[in-house]
């Protein structure tokens, strides 16, 4: 049994908020830099070089990469041999987000009631997904999510008979509908299987996986590769202005599902695909 005071979680999350919003993870930034050398359209090249310059300014001057510093999505895995002390876990997480967004000069983009729409002023609450896992560590992934791309995400409840072709059509449909609205080049997170809500969660989780790591399942890795190629043939391009850099990656997560169903969720993310992971 290991005691962890939740104030440590608060401090860690505070730091992660700033880090995630100022600097993209290497897998994402290197894909943008690489795309710049491969893009063929004049406007596409121009947009990609602006994105590269933007990343440099953000890092150097501590200006957020994008003004939409997102709603804080947190995946937290708590080892079952951990004993949490201090403030309740969710309060500690929200306190970390509050401090990170306030002290880090990040935008407060959360309204307290979805219909009354008054800004909470500190970007809380976070969306928290907690799992209890073996061991005595706590692993935290923070993925601030912008809504230009979130708004273009979708769930498709396919019939089993639609199979893999149905999955491909669903993903391509979502990307086409997203088009210029989702600040391409995009990153596509896909969840296949589970239930209505499970596939959406898988899709979100998929966005936090390193873009250089294909799925360990050979048929899914092949699907990721094929979809990325097809998406980049759609001529949406950087900024939606045309070109072959429409997506930087497609990550797919799967889960067993019901004999009657084939749920598919497509979580669209922009090139500002932010995720940071820390272990306590």
């Amino acid at each position: 049994m290991r005691d962890i005071d939740t104030s440590v979680i608060t401090e860690t999350i505070k730091d992660m908020c700033l880090k995630a919003n100022i600097e993209l993870a290497d897998d994402v930034s290197s894909k943008i830099i690489c795309a710049k050398t491969q893009e063929t359209t004049e406007l596409g090249k121009l947009v990609l070089s602006q994105l590269t310059e933007n990343m440099e300014i953000a890092k150097k001057e501590l200006i957020p990469i994008c003004q939409d510093t997102g709603m804080a999505v947190i995946f937290i895995e708590v080892g079952q041999d951990v004993h949490l002390t201090g403030a309740p876990l969710e309060d500690a997480i929200n306190e970390g987000v509050r401090r990170g967004y306030t002290e880090g000069f990040l935008r407060k983009s959360v309204v307290g009631d979805p219909l009354l729409r008054v800004n909470t002023g500190d970007n809380t609450p976070a969306v928290i997904h907690t799992r209890i896992v073996p061991g005595e560590n706590v692993s935290i992934t923070l993925a601030p999510k912008g809504f230009g791309s979130e708004n273009m995400s979708r769930v498709y409840m396919l019939k089993p008979a639609e199979g893999i072709e149905g999955v491909k059509a669903a993903v391509l449909d979502a990307v086409k509908l997203a088009g210029p609205n989702a600040c391409p080049p995009m990153v596509i997170g896909v969840g296949i299987g589970g239930t209505f809500e499970k596939c959406a969660l898988l899709a979100k989780k998929a966005l936090t996986r390193n873009l250089d790591e294909p799925s360990p399942l050979p048929h899914i890795a092949a699907l990721e590769k094929e979809l990325l190629e097809k998406i980049n043939e759609m001529d949406i391009g950087p900024g939606g202005l045309g070109g072959k850099t429409t997506a930087l990656g497609v990550n797919i997560e799967t889960f067993p599902t019901h004999i009657a169903g084939l749920p598919v969720a497509v979580n669209i993310c922009c090139h500002v695909n932010r995720h940071v992971t820390r272990m306590i």
């Binding site: 994008c66 000069f105 230009g148 090139h271």
Partner: protein
């Protein structure tokens, strides 16, 4: 690609010179407004009140910036999705608004109104807020301060880069 340096305010004769696909550097004054500010402006008009600024020949930047650090003019300042403003836009175009900056598609109703009123829709690069903030030389809140990031700012810009997506002739660069 045609590159044009353009001074704001954007008079209708300047609008008529622009074509979808032109690359433009804007210099002058523009105003920020996004969802909540558009809602308030529309409500003000419905109540017979004035808008917070004279909108004739003006440009609205669909923007909700991140807070400025001490010493900075503004925080990160890239465009937000324009389509969410579509339901409010024709009313503003009828009042003389000539320029809009955002990202993403517009409805046919907006494009029809742009044609009728001679207005133009520019896209700035989504997700390049740090870079674009460097083109803003002054930022002052002029209305709805209580809305936080959604307040209306008067912005002075210099060589702000954007591309004409939809012009007043019915062309739309996104529909290639």
């Amino acid at each position: 690609m045609k590159k044009i340096h353009l001074e704001l305010p954007l008079t209708k004769d300047k609008v008529q010179e622009l074509t979808a696909g032109d690359y433009v550097y804007l210099t002058g004054v523009m105003y920020s407004a996004r969802d909540a500010a558009h809602k308030r402006m529309t409500e003000a008009l419905a109540d017979g009140k004035d808008l917070p600024m004279d909108i004739k020949d003006q440009t609205i930047y669909y923007l909700g910036p991140s807070p400025a650090r001490p010493g900075q003019v503004i925080g990160s300042a890239g465009p937000t999705t324009a389509g969410r403003m579509d339901r409010y836009t024709p009313t503003l175009l009828d009042l003389g608004l000539t320029g809009m900056i955002g990202k993403g598609r517009r409805t046919q109703a907006v494009k029809d109104s742009m044609k009728k009123n001679h207005a133009v829709y520019f896209a700035a690069v989504g997700g390049a807020g740090a870079l674009l903030s460097k083109c803003i030389t002054k930022a002052d809140i002029v209305a709805y301060e209580d809305l936080g990031t959604e307040a209306v700012y008067r912005l002075e810009v210099k060589d702000f880069p954007c591309v004409v997506v939809a012009d007043d002739k019915g062309n739309d660069l996104y529909e290639r």
